[in-house]
Symmetry: C2
Subunit: 761 residues, 2 copies
């Protein structure tokens, strides 16, 4: 290595670039002599010489080092800072500052200094991510997939798709990934896609003065939901460069209702994503866009692998599936516990959130800097395709503290972008690249860090930690079973990733296709399917999928597609909770205003009573938002008389009753009425839905739940069985079907009593 | 070629094998001299020498020629006879018979004799297929996908999944494909999968004495429907060796209701299919299974192709998509017209069905034998990877009438198995293999033959003709636009196939994934998506997808997922048709028997009347099958008194009311009652569904249709708006929502009047 014999730097001091590489430092240790910055310059020169990229301007030694990093093969968009950067390359100004510290400390202490720089950068990035998340949009923390899933089920949680959330999601995710956390950008990208779709669907944001009115088409629930489904599909398609995987993710995990039109719309969206991505990659092929754009649409190309496998391989794969199921179930269990602890901390306020994030950041930095010291140096393989050791860029063979010609396997995993670590694990024909001990340490570290990182106040995806951990134990199993199986450890890593994904997320078809599109390894498809089946089946015995768990833990009233078995033993009338607020067909304004002020309900039954009809008679259902529009028009009457509906409706345009964007609707607090107005009457017939869906009170609750869920209702009227009673018994809403509500009404009902029946059905 | 200089045959006359190859005949033309059978032996020897397969016993000249055909690369299971066989190789006994005819006719006439053999074999196979189809199971004709789709929508057409249909579907499909028709085995395999699933789900067939009782789990509609969905997914997975494609096909095209459990079940099914297929392929790798098992799971491996494409390529692809949309829409239109003509012929009886099939068989034979004569001979490429010309097996370069060293491009397409023709069209680096004129002729022939073949009384799929025609025009476009685009004509063929599939079948994600799994060409995915989007969008402007069209044409009452726009202008009460038959809660047996005999209804409302309650009161709905079980038990009473329900139900077991297998249920004609019994009473309360789904008569028909469709109902009760009327207005069934029914009631309702509103929504 040229760095061994220090030479005078050719560059002027202010224009050259210092390289605080662990590798280069170590290179100078073995060489000895000379002030460190001189040797570092020599090393940086050596680095430039290794750099055999195609660009003409690559040869210039006047380039700062950061520029060089466009060479590497990673494809992660969001790498800005620390995960690779602060150790491997700092630009001049920063370097000079820390230089002082080096000289103050002893020669051996430079490792601590390097850690200080590395950990410090991580800390700053992590703290910024946590700060914007905690102060601007707390809803942006975490993956966002559970929230999007709940939204598409009909739960519009507060500001979950607001523009501020979008902003924090994008920049928080960039900062979080840069801070070297064990987290992914995939979940946040799904949420980002959904936020953008929501912003488009409501025609911009009035709060931030970004409005346009041409998107009135989406002023209804269904089309807005469709649009947000498309947005989440686009997120997956962009994150994994997997357009078909995006469609399937939206189908399998995100959407609650599925129509062929929606399939077609998501397909269209992801096709556009693919074409745009393809265009950007083409545009960036010359290295204009940093880490983005290398490697084409397929991120981890394994297409060269052989496709033969025999019975022993199948046994090894079944073992892998079982391990994946157990680890996946355990992961979900532990994550649930950890999130419950974290939620106690996070509830205490923004400073605590930032403190927690900082703690986890320090632990992460310590793990990724400290653990590679445990690994022994491995001599570079003589037949390595890639240059070994890798200097100055992410790659397969990290030098770390090793002498020249050697690499540190554990550092190659820890000291890389997550994408490159995955690529290393998936790589073929490198069976001996990683020591078993390195893989074990890496697996345990990633598994634990993945668990503790998820709940911090930073946008964080679960895909990357899960794929990393899965690929690691897949490689371990592959190496252990290498004697009985002919498959490459790289393929075992792929199958391990599949098994762990199946074990935690419980997705099947979408994971299968996403892995296929990531790796281009179609002949492995039957094996991937098999391993997913086994791991999902095993993990399903322990608990629910990780996103479902988080939805439950966040208390979002998610309606499952199937009715719970204990619901078969209740009837609809059992769970309606009073007191019921009904309006007359022609109602006093004061009564309406009073009812809207005291009750949080969004739907009210309208009943015509004797002055208007002979017997009390159910007219239908009126919603809060329609009532507010009607009250706002102040079109009141002196007496209790039924008007002609068309007369009232003529005063309104087609879009006055359209669904407003989130946070934009009228509120009862916004309306003022005089005492005279409060004593007047208003005819509710024109705005009443005269044919709401109804069920009889004796209908099985399970059956009512299916009706409610399949039709995507918000209110379901319960009518009496016999005609001699008031025409309405109550209203069922989403909350009345929640297990917590039912168990509070019927504490003796054992939810697990009928579970075996549900398992059989 | 050795055939040029005739030599005495080395084999004893009875043990040698004659080769009635067009190629070998022509070889002898250029050689001249000697009696034809001698020269043919010489040619057959030359053929054996070309045969450089791995098997040790291949060298033996004592093998009959048919044995040799295990060598080729095709993977079509169902090739038995004529498509390649009768011209290329006949065994000795047949050959000797036709030998006489040769000698009687002049030398030039042997082409007519060869046609006679070829066409005759095709004719016999086609006639057998049509005969078993027409006489044993007429329901087995056609693709079967529309019927399976309708079944999964809730339409149980007569004997569509019966064991006889299964039998005819399997053997008819084998015979049909062997007869050289332009049809595929994919549709029939979907139907076969569904039939097998149905057979399993009802625990065997009582009619054919194949019963077992351990499958009681499936004695309900939903689980049986799920099982049949899995069966159809397995069919696609097996036909295309595309497990994920199978899942998506079941989702996109087959199933009407989708649940995550179903996704999981179909995924499991196709994973098992993939593993079993993989095992069979492994087992058959040594050539034990004829044409099956070569080439692994990926049928047309294009993985070596480059993945770069530029803007001109995109323009070429858009053109391809537009052409695909236009041809697809035209195909559907013409197919509809032709099927209507055919149905008139087919209705006249089985002999007419066979006659029609024979006619089409003769036309097909004439086309595939006669048209290659129009093509000029092309000299073999010097750098061909494959042996050229191909003799004695299916391959890229068919000799046909050409001199040695030449091949006939059109014969390479017509005189091959369909799979090999597709492989030829998809092949890369063979830009000049086919003359433009050959491709034009082939396209027109396949397009027309595909149209006229579908309606004949033979199990026939549409995938293969559509892929063939699409690949052909794709190659034409690719060749024409070769100057502006760098893509290989083979890739254009793939994209052409995608565009035509999108234009006819209107599937997107599933076609995309199936093509991906067929070709292993993942980098082309964005282009395939784009071309599918364009062709589907364009074709959707003309008509519906081909399977939807066939469903409508067969008069199956398929419920669309969305309500038609004109339904918004009607209310539920408008379409209920009388007279309504209701029962009292305790009803006279005679009345029930009479009602069941005169009315075909399957559901009857039960109304309690004054002797039992004060005012008429709706109890619920009772179904025909439950009534029959109750009547069969003869548990009658003397007087009109309400019993305790548990007393009655104690006489029945859990499975007495379970859904029987098709054709196995009780019928009213099977029951006999004495006059005394007819005068007795029976309490219907225990078997009444006391909480049926109801709608008020003033509900918009569109809303009622959504309720009906989403919940998969068979009966929907319409109740009056006001309480002072009889408690039930009528029953809505599937037929009441059909456009034909509504238009017969409201002839002035213009179905197209509100269509623009539907397009916007």
């Amino acid at each position: 290595m040229d760095g061994d014999s220090p030479r005078p730097p050719r560059l002027p001091e202010r224009e050259g670039s210092y390289n605080y590489d662990i590798e280069s430092m170590d290179g100078s240790v073995s060489g000895g002599g000379g002030p460190p910055w001189r040797r570092q310059n020599g090393s940086s020169e050596a680095l430039l010489r290794y750099d055999d990229g195609g660009d003409g301007d690559r040869g210039s030694t006047r380039e700062p080092l950061l520029r060089k990093r466009t060479m590497n093969t990673t494809s992660q968009i969001a790498i800005v800072g620390a995960n690779v950067c602060p150790i491997e390359s700092l630009d001049y100004e920063h370097a000079e500052y820390f230089e002082v510290i080096i000289i103050v400390f002893c020669f051996q202490c430079r490792y601590f200094k390097a850690f200080f720089v590395y950990g410090g950068c991580n800390l700053v990035l992590a703290a910024s991510a946590a700060a914007i998340c905690a102060y601007i949009a707390p809803a942006a923390a975490g993956s966002g997939i559970p929230e999007v899933k709940a939204y598409l089920n009909g739960v519009d949680a507060y500001s979950i798709l607001a523009p501020s959330t979008l902003f924090v999601k994008i920049f928080g995710s960039i900062l979080g990934v840069s801070a070297g956390f064990v987290l992914g950008k995939e979940g946040p990208m799904v949420h980002t896609g959904a936020c953008i779709a929501n912003l488009l669907g409501q025609g911009g944001s009035r709060k931030y003065h970004l409005t346009c009115n041409w998107l009135r088409y989406f002023k209804n629930d269904r089309d807005r939901r469709d649009l947000i489904t498309c947005g989440s599909a686009a997120g997956v398609a962009a994150a994994f460069r997997a357009p078909v995987g995006g469609v399937l993710f939206a189908l399998e995990e995100a959407a609650s209702w599925w129509r062929s039109a929606l399939l077609w719309r998501t397909f269209f969206t992801t096709a556009v994503v693919a074409v745009v991505l393809r265009g950007l990659i083409e545009f960036c092929r010359s290295g204009k866009c940093g880490l983005f754009g290398q490697g084409g649409l397929i991120m981890f190309d394994l297409s060269s692998t052989v496709a033969t496998y025999s019975t022993p391989d199948l046994i090894a794969i079944i073992v892998l599936g079982i391990i994946g199921g157990i680890f996946g179930g355990l992961f979900n269990l532990l994550l649930d516990k950890i999130l419950r602890v974290y939620s106690i901390i996070n509830e205490r306020g923004a400073p605590f959130k930032i403190l927690l994030t900082i703690t986890i950041s320090i632990i992460t930095s310590m793990c990724s800097y400290g653990l590679p010291w445990l690994a022994a140096c491995t001599p570079c393989p003589v037949d390595a395709v890639e240059q070994c050791p890798t200097v100055g860029r992410s790659g397969n063979y990290k030098n770390f503290q090793c002498p020249p010609g050697y690499y540190n396997g554990l550092a190659s995993l820890f000291f890389n972008t997550n994408d490159d670590a995955i690529r290393n694990l998936f790589s073929n024909g490198t069976a001996t690249e990683f020591h078993m001990s390195s893989l074990f340490i890496f697996f345990i570290a990633i598994y634990c860090l993945g668990l503790v990182t998820y709940g911090v106040a930073v946008p964080s995806g679960l895909f990357i930690p899960v794929i990393l951990a899965g690929a690691t134990y897949g490689r371990i199993v592959g190496t252990l079973l290498g004697s009985i199986s002919d498959l490459d450890p790289g393929l075992f890593a792929l199958l391990g990733a599949a098994s762990f994904l199946g074990g935690t997320m419980r997705m099947t078809v979408s994971v299968c296709v996403i892995l296929l599109e990531l790796t281009n390894d179609l002949p492995m498809l039957p094996l991937v399917m098999l391993v997913l089946l086994i791991s999902k089946t095993i993990a399903d015995n322990f608990n629910k999928g990780v996103y479902d768990q988080i939805v439950v833990m966040k208390g979002l009233p998610y309606m499952e597609a199937h009715a719970e078995p204990y619901m078969r033993h209740l009837v609809a009338g059992d769970v309606v909770s009073g007191p019921l607020i009904t309006f007359s067909g022609v109602e006093k304004v004061g009564n309406i205003v009073h009812a809207l002020r005291i009750a949080g309900h969004n739907g009210f039954p309208v009943v015509d009573e004797p002055p208007i009809t002979e017997t009390p008679e159910l007219v239908g259902l009126v919603t809060r938002s329609h009532l507010l529009v009607l009250l706002n028009s102040k079109n009141f009457m002196k007496g209790r008389v039924k008007t002609s509906g068309s007369f009232v409706l003529r005063r309104f345009g087609a879009f006055d009753f359209a669904k407003p964007g989130s946070g934009k609707g009228l509120k009862i607090e916004d309306l003022d009425f005089t005492d005279e107005e409060m004593d007047m009457y208003v005819d509710l017939h024109p705005i009443t839905n005269t044919s709401p869906y109804t069920v009889v009170e004796t209908m099985s609750l399970a059956k009512a739940a299916i009706l409610f869920r399949e039709l995507g209702l918000r209110h379901l009227l319960v009518v009496p069985k016999t005609p001699d009673r008031p025409p309405i018994v109550g209203i069922l809403t989403r909350h009345d079907f929640m297990p917590e509500h039912i168990h509070s009404l019927f504490p003796n009902l054992n939810p697990h009593k009928y579970h075996s029946a549900s398992m059989a059905g």
